[in-house]
Symmetry: C2
């Protein structure tokens, strides 16, 4: 009971819902640190979730994600909306986060209590999106954020991951970062609900927008489109000056309205919950496998047998799951 | 028994070991297609694995991975070694592989039966390294390849994945693709056993090599180095002309010798087998979860309850694993 005396989850959730930034911060820390209270926190938050529009923002390093996030916050605040930002940096474990000090610019909003910004380090070598990001997004949702922006460095896998997490995925590009076809190789044409070419005042921006539109039309998902399906717009913006940002917010709102008008929102959220539940279940099983099992079939000794050619991976997996 | 009449696994493995390219191709197809014979194939291969030097080659799009692979094959063939190549393209599902026709250049070796090249599409949205890549590498290993090169488009996650798969990870860079610090954001400084700056005849190549060396020395893994640890070399090459490629092969051999001299090779291979076994076990459990469970706790209905705020992800995961 002494832990409950230190941290009253119900009270914390109440204060977070009332907009207290410190309570929000504490809840996200409980989530990030996999606190023993985590289950209690998630159970207390569940009834209050589902209101926020979760927007994933992804793009290669250097396209201006932080500047764009900043501009989007400003625009969303002007329309009176509360904004939460989770900045996930899938960079190397040794840096512990951004190397370039990007985050500092977000200090612009430090005194606005309608904005909550949190930088989330990705943990360990299997980084990308931190496993706790979906839970942190739930905290911001329950805390009354109208929009939750999840910003990731778009390097391959994390783009796909952020698309799994978000209601709306916005892919940011910029001219001079490699051509459109190269971009296609990283799979971004599959994930975007909205494409924004930042630095639209630079050479090559118009060409990039044209190339992107062509590439999108070449994609299989385009061919499968039906009447009434969402057509991802390809917008231009100059985040530094704010040019084009109101149009980006309008497009985000339109996508949200489109999703809400059909089954899209429920489908995406069920898919997201599915991935979350599965990840938590898999993590629980992995923790079991790391112990020496009652069957003597712990993962380490099975792996050693496979490496030595004494067993094969399928036979070892069968033993692990107790077949 | 009729299936056995069509595909005699033992015979196929025997022919693959004798160097018949069609038998190798058939075995990899059985692996890729998750054939019902897969378990039998892997069990038959196991005793013949562990000889090949598995080299991961990764780098951003445009650095010249295919050209470098080509040059490495040529160099390895000159020293009489048999070479297997798995070209994994973590690009979008709709492209089904490379968009740029990179692979065509590999046709140079089409008539050399000491070279086996296979392009492996990554499957589905959770692509990156195809889940079957480690098994395909086992096929090439058992088929007598001295070196198995696994080439991936290095976009974040896949670099880390290829490092998990390989004995030796070679990171390819090129000048003019963004500065060293940007490279660091994608985590490549953690994974390389060997760094090669391709297009070394271009402006900025020397600076890139210097920056890389500095960045490597700033890394945590450098500080933890002990006497006798491997120091990742940073080489230069012009793959197009073959300049520097013999030195790259020498460095690969040196790393292999270093690994073999200590416990490094066994450790890496056990780690690799561990990841393989775990992935197969998780896939088996996921397949179970997709069915309506005996407890009525199938993943879809649990996910729908979480999405609706009626449950939380932890409670749902507990039900899924039957706690």
């Amino acid at each position: 009971m002494s832990r409950r005396a230190d941290t009253d989850v119900a009270d914390l959730v109440e204060r977070a819902r009332a907009g207290q930034a410190r309570a929000v911060a504490r809840l996200i820390s409980l989530v990030e640190d996999a606190s023993p209270l985590l289950r209690e926190v998630m159970a207390a938050l569940a009834p209050h979730t589902g209101r926020a529009h979760v927007v994933g923002l992804t793009g290669a390093p250097g396209v201006g994600k932080s500047t764009t996030t900043n501009a989007l916050i400003r625009e969303l605040r002007e329309s009176g909306r509360r904004v939460g930002v989770l900045a996930v940096d899938p960079s190397s474990p040794f840096s512990g986060g951004a190397l370039l000090g990007d985050r500092i610019r977000m200090g612009d909003h430090a005194e606005d209590d309608g904005v909550y910004i949190r930088s989330m380090a990705s943990r360990g070598h299997l980084g990308g999106l931190s496993a706790t990001t979906p839970q942190a997004a739930r905290v911001l949702d329950a805390a009354g954020c109208d929009v939750v922006l999840v910003e990731t460095v778009g390097v391959g896998q994390s783009e796909v991951e952020v698309a799994g997490l978000a209601d709306t995925t916005m892919v940011l590009l910029a001219p001079g970062m490699g051509d459109g076809i190269q971009a296609a190789k990283a799979g971004i044409l599959e994930v975007g609900d909205l494409y924004v070419v930042n630095k639209a005042d630079r050479d090559g921006a118009e060409k990039l927008r044209r190339d992107l539109r062509s590439a999108l039309r070449l994609g299989a998902s385009w061919a499968d489109r039906a009447e009434g399906d969402w057509e991802p717009p390809v917008l231009g913006a100059v985040a530094q000056s704010g040019r084009g940002i109101p149009e980006v917010v309008t497009a985000l709102d339109e996508h949200h309205a489109w999703l809400s008008g059909g089954e899209g929102l429920a489908l995406r959220r069920t898919r997201r919950a599915r991935a979350e539940v599965e990840a938590i279940a898999v993590a629980a099983l992995r923790a079991q496998w790391d112990d020496v099992g009652a069957r003597g079939a712990d993962l380490d000794s099975l792996a050693a047998a496979v490496a030595a050619g004494e067993s094969d991976p399928y036979a070892a997996a069968d033993r692990l799951v107790g077949r």
